[in-house]
Amino acid sequence: MRVDAHDLVLRYGDVTALDRMSFSLEPGKIYGLLGRNGSGKTSLLSVLAAFRKHSEGTVRVDGAPVFENRDVTRRVSLIRDTGETVDISSAEDALEFAKWLRPDWDAALAASLMDTFAINPKKEVSGMSKGQRSALGVIVGLAGRAPLTMFDESYLGMDAPARHAFYDALLADYMAHPRTIILSTHLIEEVSSLFEEVLIIDRGRLLVQEEAETLLSRGTSVTGPILQVDAFTEGMTVLGARELGPTKSAMVYGHLDDVRRKRAVESGLDLGPIAMQDLFVHLTGGPR
């Protein structure tokens, strides 16, 4: 589904969680939503899912307002870190509820994912470990097949093998049933290859919206003797630098044309890619 936010503001009392955020998401892509703790990721997703009413601005999904609009909300799904499940009953009851309320529910997918994540259908949700709850949430999110599906750190409680099983399941089901997916995560290195586009937000504002590959190609590490590196990077956006004896490695942000690349190589500098995680850390201001 298409998402359009314009000057979106969300306040809790004195705190401004979303500060005039504007962006558009196209249908059928996997988006990565990156931001530090407290940057407004959960607030943004909560507004998109009508979990919260925004304070100002507009947010539209397929052109229609979201809050209390059943035509939109039934096609939007947000799974938060504890899993959106009912606490007072068993896993299979939780799935029955989801099946009852979700128009596009795929019971066969849910059943096969229950196997994948080894969840006993008879198990009480309230007695589940964090990992099992997360897995159940992920199952509800994937099998719901909502045209706009969002996972907010939903898989943090899962261990590495379970997370990888989730990535595989997500990708397989996305390819079979393309839909708009937003993944918010701290585990950037693990998930970044799934993103088609990335949104980086910081302090309630949108910092970057870019195709993942383009964003990656914007970042370059320049390594070599200190003097040459300094000369080369002069006038460029340097996100950060490290020195080791006579060697310096600088991260620059921005497009490097062929002439500059050639010049770098001729002056004995090594150019290399930067991982999305590093780009993210530097774009959001380094350690705070």
Partner: protein, 232 residues
């Protein structure tokens, strides 16, 4: 609107299980009193104090558990409100029917034991066999206690500790219901309140429906734009 079959079924199933267990427990206690003491009044009259707390917590759970579940599964607050109202409106008579049946089973048991099934407090009914009156009284009571639970549950869900402020309003609803059935409210602090209005079936129905609608009207503003909490 979709009929809230799941919501109702989940609650009814749970209620029947509890009721069956409770029926056994009350019967055992009744027999124990018969064995070791003097059984001279209805045990169910005392036993019905607990089910209304169950009704109250059903109301609380409706908001605390099912409202977030509904919204997380893409339903609107309005849809939830409508489904919850229908659920309460059908669940209360269901509970009341279980209580009415319990009284009748007790009548049979006391008949076997040859004991008087005396009702000691003021009720809409004077004999447990006055089925319509028994049913009406507990229907009213459960309607009000469930909706009171929903209201107080919504208060706490929305405002956290600030939900304490909803408790007096909830108690007022309960008092209203008690007055309409001619009983005194069995909350220790409120024994003093006893308006002693003479009850009639029409008044009971009127007050019952009135209190229910009032409860719904009070609860709706609390949930119509409530944000979903982030469960920690």
């Amino acid at each position: 609107m979709r009929f809230p079959s799941r919501l109702l079924a989940a609650n009814m199933w749970f209620a029947v299980m509890l009721w069956a267990g409770y029926l056994v427990l009350v019967t055992v206690i009744t027999l124990a009193v018969e064995l070791f003491g003097e059984l001279n009044q209805s045990a169910w009259e005392q036993a019905t104090q607990l089910p209304r707390w169950y009704a109250f917590f059903t109301g609380v759970t409706l908001v605390r558990q099912f409202l977030p579940l509904y919204i997380a599964h893409g339903q609107t607050r309005r849809e939830f409100g409508a489904q919850a109202a229908v659920t309460v409106a059908l669940f209360a008579p269901f509970l009341s029917a279980l209580i009415t049946i319990s009284y009748l089973l007790e009548t049979a048991l006391y008949g076997l034991l040859d004991r008087p099934q005396v009702i000691s407090q003021a009720h809409l009914f004077t004999e447990p066999t006055q089925v319509p009156l028994v049913f009406a009284e507990y229907l009213l009571e459960f309607l009000v206690w469930i909706i009171g639970g929903s209201f107080i549950g919504a208060g706490f869900y929305r405002w956290g500790a600030g939900g304490l402020l909803t408790i007096p309003v909830g108690i007022l609803l309960a008092v209203l219901a008690e007055t309409a059935t001619g009983g005194e409210l069995r909350l220790p602090l409120l024994r003093v309140i006893d308006l002693n209005l003479s009850p009639s079936a029409a008044m009971t129905a009127g007050v019952g429906i009135g209190a229910f609608v009032l409860g719904l009207a009070l609860t709706w503003p609390l949930i119509r734009d409530v944000p979903l909490r982030n469960k920690a």
